[in-house]
């Protein structure tokens, strides 16, 4: 309030003095009374404009220290072990736990259960015989090979050593296994579209 009053008074005096001091242009300010220091002069006061800034050495160091502290904090936060990727095969999907999907187990007759048990035993015997035959066939083949190598050794050392050398071009062998039906010659398979919905996890 006092400022506003002083300002208005100042303007009144300046107007009056403007008329009288038109002849003394530059000494306009010196003429006014000492009570009313114009507000404008405060901004241009000497001490505030002339002092140089002292922020050259200390502040960069301080800034770096601050940055290091932040980095350390970030590293501590990041030390948390990465989240393990869930194995989708190990979690039973909720569809399977649905009770409405349970099938009623049929009651088997005595004959049927007997037949199944006997068939399982037959099968185990059949499979055992098959396995033993396979093992024996492999043993015979190995014996035949060792005999051949012995005979070769008797013949010449060079050829024997050449036979023992591993073949670098043998592996990888690629062979298409047997299918149920033979492949149709010159068959053009139609192009198919599919949406790949596999979930990709990133650690």
């Amino acid at each position: 309030m006092s400022l506003v009053l002083s300002r208005s008074l100042c303007r009144v005096f300046s107007r009056q003095s403007a008329q009288s001091s038109f002849l003394f242009g530059e000494h306009h300010y010196a003429v006014q009374s000492p009570w009313f220091t114009p507000v404008m002069t405060i901004k241009t006061s000497a001490p505030l404009s002339m002092e140089p800034k002292k922020k050259k050495k200390v502040d960069p160091r301080r800034e770096q220290l601050a940055r290091d502290r932040l980095k350390k904090k970030l590293r501590k936060l990041e030390k948390v072990p990465p989240e393990l990727i869930p194995i989708e095969d190990f979690t039973t999907p909720t569809k399977c736990l649905d009770e409405t999907r349970a099938r009623i187990a049929p009651s088997l007759s005595f004959q049927e259960s007997e037949r199944r048990a006997l068939l399982l035993k037959e099968w185990s015997r059949y499979k055992q015989k098959q396995h033993m035959d396979e093992m024996q066939a492999v043993e015979f083949a190995l014996k035949a090979q060792s005999e051949a190598l012995e005979e070769l050794k008797l013949e010449s050392e060079e050829l024997y050593k050449a036979a023992l050398m591993p073949d670098p071009h043998l592996f990888p062998i690629v062979h298409e296994g047997p299918a149920y039906t033979p492949s149709i010659p010159k068959y053009e398979a139609p192009d198919g579209k599919y949406n790949d919905v596999t979930k990709v996890y990133t650690q």
Partner: protein, 294 residues
């Protein structure tokens, strides 16, 4: 038999002389050393002459196998077991989405056909599907019937022994008719070994030099450098000389990687049980050991 005996004799000679050199006095030791070196030199020349005059001619043969193209027919026990397993698995399983849908729709149809059917009740369950599950099943069956699969067994090709497409469920072995001595015999393709090549290269040459082998040839993968079997036979006494007592045939296994190999009337593709008809008994005994019918 003579070869190892000779080598043994040489070894014992060397041992005798080395013992002498160790126990003898210095002035006499020098003499022993020199005699030792002479002995060793003679030993070396003896071994060289041994290899050059080995009485057996070396021959390499290739056992080319065409692996089965289709799965074998099931043994009756296997068929029975397969059906039983499917039945058991079905009993122990949960009802699938498709089955649930089929059940729902069959119930809905039965309710529609009942006399006291009220269509307003059905409206609350959502939209009626255009395609019933049963219709979808029929469409799938129709599609399967329309698709023409290649037949598993073609009787005419099976009887043609020269075709490599016969008996797709078994593994076949290549047999060629070759001149051995004075006779023409059916045996696994073979050629004589030449100086400066390994036995495997001889076997590869045997395969390449078959009649009916065009520029394409048989694309075979040889399984390793080592032979898988050996068959040795002595020539009849009339033909036997100092340098040739008999022949040693080394067999190498190879797998056919070509689906349409070249055919020729002098080449046969036979199953293991058919080989006995064409091969000589002693030969087939040796060959049967490394031919695994799996």
């Amino acid at each position: 038999m003579a070869a190892p005996c000779r080598r043994m004799a040489n070894r014992s000679l060397l041992q005798f002389f080395s013992h002498f050199s160790r126990t003898a006095v210095r002035n006499t030791g020098f003499r022993e050393f020199s005699s030792n070196s002479v002995c060793r030199a003679s030993l070396q020349t003896k071994t060289v002459t041994e290899t050059a005059t080995s009485p057996w001619t070396l021959v390499a043969a290739v056992c080319l196998q065409r692996l089965p193209v289709i799965s074998a027919d099931l043994h009756p026990l296997e068929q029975e077991f397969k059906e039983m397993m499917l039945q058991m698995e079905l009993e122990r399983s949960l009802v699938s989405d498709h089955e649930l849908r089929v059940l729902e729709e069959s119930e809905r149809m039965s309710r529609k056909k009942a006399d006291d059917y009220d269509s307003d009740e059905e409206g609350s369950q959502g939209n009626q599907e255009i395609m019933l599950a049963q219709d979808m099943e029929d469409a799938w069956e129709q599609k399967l019937k329309n698709f023409q699969l290649a037949p598993r067994v073609t009787a005419d090709i099976d009887k043609d022994l020269t075709s490599a497409q016969r008996c797709l469920a078994d593994s076949l072995f290549l047999l060629a008719e070759q001149q051995v001595g004075r006779e023409k015999l059916w045996l696994l393709p073979q050629t004589q070994w030449q100086e400066g090549e390994t036995l495997r290269q001889t076997a590869e040459r045997a395969l390449a030099s078959l009649p009916g082998n065009t520029a394409a040839g048989f694309k075979a993968t040889f399984l390793g450098n080592a032979p898988c079997g050996v068959y040795k036979y002595k020539l009849p006494k009339a033909v036997r000389t100092e340098s040739t007592v008999g022949t040693k045939v080394f067999f190498f296994k190879a797998i056919l990687s070509d689906s349409a190999p070249p055919t020729s009337p002098s080449l046969l593709w036979l199953k293991k049980n058919e080989l006995q008809k064409y091969l000589k008994p002693a030969y087939s005994m040796k060959v049967d050991r490394f031919i695994i019918n799996m």
